[in-house]
């Protein structure tokens, strides 16, 4: 179950990295939300799972409001991003399973891929909607790190993460006004 959730998290993050359209971005965000909520459920943090789910779902839904239309999943020039997503996945797998010890490898993998993929997306985007989606994903990822074992912040961190993620998606798009 947790392994599947972790895989879904990677898929979600990869979609965010690859997608350029609002639907694709919302899908990625949704997948990441589901994965993190699932992992929280699996860890017994039900309230945290709900908070993340609520915040993430709201963020995904709000994402559908703005941004470039469509899915934008296979835009020209997306191949390097696909490769990057795979590389990040492999590296995260190495760190989560080989280098680190103890239980909870899927959890660690999920943390790493969500944060790394959203960071990668932040570095390679010009669209406000894409950047905001990546930022919301990042919030969920950090919230997951805080709310799941062995961290102690628990529910509070999850609520803050959910609120931040939803709030980010709710913000209007901004265009530069010139110097």
């Amino acid at each position: 179950m947790t392994a599947v959730a972790a895989f879904v998290a990677w898929i979600g993050g990869a979609v965010i990295l690859v997608a350029d359209g609002r639907r694709g971005l919302a899908l990625g965000l949704g997948l990441v939300t589901a994965a993190i909520a699932g992992l929280a459920f699996a860890a017994g943090q039900h309230a945290a799972a709900i908070a993340v789910l609520a915040g993430g779902a709201a963020a995904a839904a709000l994402r559908l409001r703005s941004g470039p239309p469509g899915w934008g999943l296979t835009q020209p020039g997306s191949t390097p991003r696909i490769i990057l997503a795979i590389v990040i996945g492999i590296l995260a797998l190495y760190f989560a399973t080989s280098l680190s010890t103890g239980d909870g490898s899927p959890l660690r993998f999920a943390w790493l891929v969500v944060i790394a993929l959203s960071a990668a997306r932040l570095l390679d985007c010009e669209e406000p909607a894409t950047a905001l989606t990546a930022a919301a994903t990042l919030a969920l990822g950090i919230g997951a790190v805080a709310s799941l074992p062995p961290a102690a912040a628990g529910l509070a961190a999850a609520i803050v993460a959910g609120l931040v993620a939803a709030g980010i998606s709710a913000l209007p798009e901004v265009r530069p006004h010139g110097a």
């Binding site: 944060i115 960071a119 950047a131 905001l132 930022a135 509070a156 709030g167 798009e173 110097a179």
Partner: protein, 405 residues
């Protein structure tokens, strides 16, 4: 409940100021009252005492509390003696938002929550209309959040010591990126409004963030303290040299100011990296000086810079002296503390540091000239900034005691 109020009241003040934009005077009054309430809450808060009013444990450390107080003083002083072309209510709006965020960062129970608050601030700032594209403005600070996040992930992993070191890399690099120091400098447009430029990160929010990140890093990865210190010192020296030389040689005066902040941060990073009390005290003094002197002076230099007015009157030279860290201004005791820390840790480093300290002079002379021929409110502001620097330089004890040093 002081920590909660310290976050909520400035946040409410900022919200009111946004909501009352069409009526700037009312916005200013309400914002000021609520902001003052927030500062009162910070003042009344007992360092280290936890409050759990909202189901989340909040507490302010002595250092964080002192930095919040100094930031609030800086904000009040900048708003009261606002540069002629700046709108006071706008300054207060963004200042209060920043102050609320800083209080949140400082009071948060874990670094993860602090980072989430930082992310919220980052996105909020990027949402304001600015000269640069939104995604670009978001890029560097959000990347910083991601780096800190990765650092936190590595810190939570059990395994070989290399993981703790990787965590240290994430946390230190993340902090550097959040500040916009080298090698993670944010894109900078000298003509951009201060509120939407990278300056608030390096000059306003940065000090509190640095205290929180560094304190938490020592708790999270205690065995990587050496690596953290080494990285901070390495990056610090890099920023000192680059910041000073670039501030001296770069073409645009606005960029020169930005580099000067970077150079100061380099010094502060060295102080934190040394890992001894004197070094930290020196770093804190540098940060206080950034908030109380360099940032206000930067704000008052913007108008003369636009008018390309450069002079060498006594006041320009005094400003140069204050910026250069010459006695009797704040930089000098900070440098004494850093030299002491470096001497007690590894004296050759003190030699390097002492040599590096001289790099401030040429750039400071240049920056002093950018103040133009100050008059009226600008002159008063500069005088107050210099007075703050002088007070810090001659008698830093009260603020250092406030910070628990």
């Amino acid at each position: 409940m002081e920590p909660e109020l310290a976050v909520a009241l400035p946040a409410a003040g900022a919200a009111f100021a946004v909501a009352l934009r069409p009526r700037p005077r009312l916005a200013l009054i309400l914002g000021a009252v609520l902001g003052a309430g927030g500062v009162a809450a910070v003042l009344l808060a007992t360092p280290g005492a936890a409050s759990n009013l909202l189901g989340i444990t909040l507490s302010l450390s002595a250092a964080g509390r002192s930095m919040l107080i100094v930031a609030a003083i800086s904000l009040a002083f900048v708003v009261i003696l606002a540069p002629v072309n700046a709108e006071r209510s706008a300054l207060l709006r963004w200042g209060l938002a920043g102050l609320a965020g800083m209080a949140g960062i400082a009071a948060a129970p874990t670094l993860e929550v602090s980072v989430l608050v930082l992310l919220a601030l980052v996105v909020l700032q990027a949402t304001v209309e600015g000269g640069r594209p939104h995604a670009r403005r978001l890029r560097a600070p959000a990347f910083a959040v991601a780096l800190i996040g990765l650092g936190l992930v590595f810190a939570r992993m059990a395994g070989p010591p290399v993981l703790e070191r990787l965590a240290a890399v994430g946390l230190v690099a993340g902090l550097t990126a959040a500040l916009g120091a080298l090698p993670y400098m944010h894109e900078f447009d000298a003509d951009e409004r201060t509120a939407t430029s990278p300056i608030p990160w390096i000059a306003f929010v940065g000090p509190v963030l640095a205290i929180v990140v560094i304190t938490r890093t020592h708790e999270l990865v205690p065995s990587a303290a050496g690596a953290v210190g080494a990285m901070l010192i390495g990056l610090g020296l890099l920023n000192i040299v680059w910041g000073c030389v670039a501030a001296w040689r770069t073409e645009l005066p606005g960029a020169a100011w930005r580099y000067s902040f970077i150079a100061d941060w380099g010094l502060a990073m060295c102080g934190f990296g040394l890992g001894v009390a004197e070094g930290e005290a020196g770093a804190l003094l540098i940060l206080y000086a950034i908030l109380l002197t360099r940032l206000p002076l930067y704000l008052w230099s913007r108008q003369p810079m636009r008018e390309r007015a450069q002079t060498d009157r006594p006041v320009n030279l005094l400003v140069a002296a204050a910026l250069a860290g010459s006695a009797p201004f704040a930089g000098f005791p900070a440098r004494i503390l850093l030299l002491r820390a470096a001497t007690s840790v590894f004296w050759p480093f003190a030699l390097v540091l002492a040599a590096a300290l001289l790099l401030w002079i040429p750039s400071s002379l240049r920056l002093g000239r950018t103040m133009g021929m100050p008059k009226g409110r600008q002159m008063a502001g500069i005088a107050v900034a210099l007075a703050f620097s002088l007070a810090l330089g001659l008698y830093p004890q009260p603020l250092l005691l406030l910070a628990g040093r």
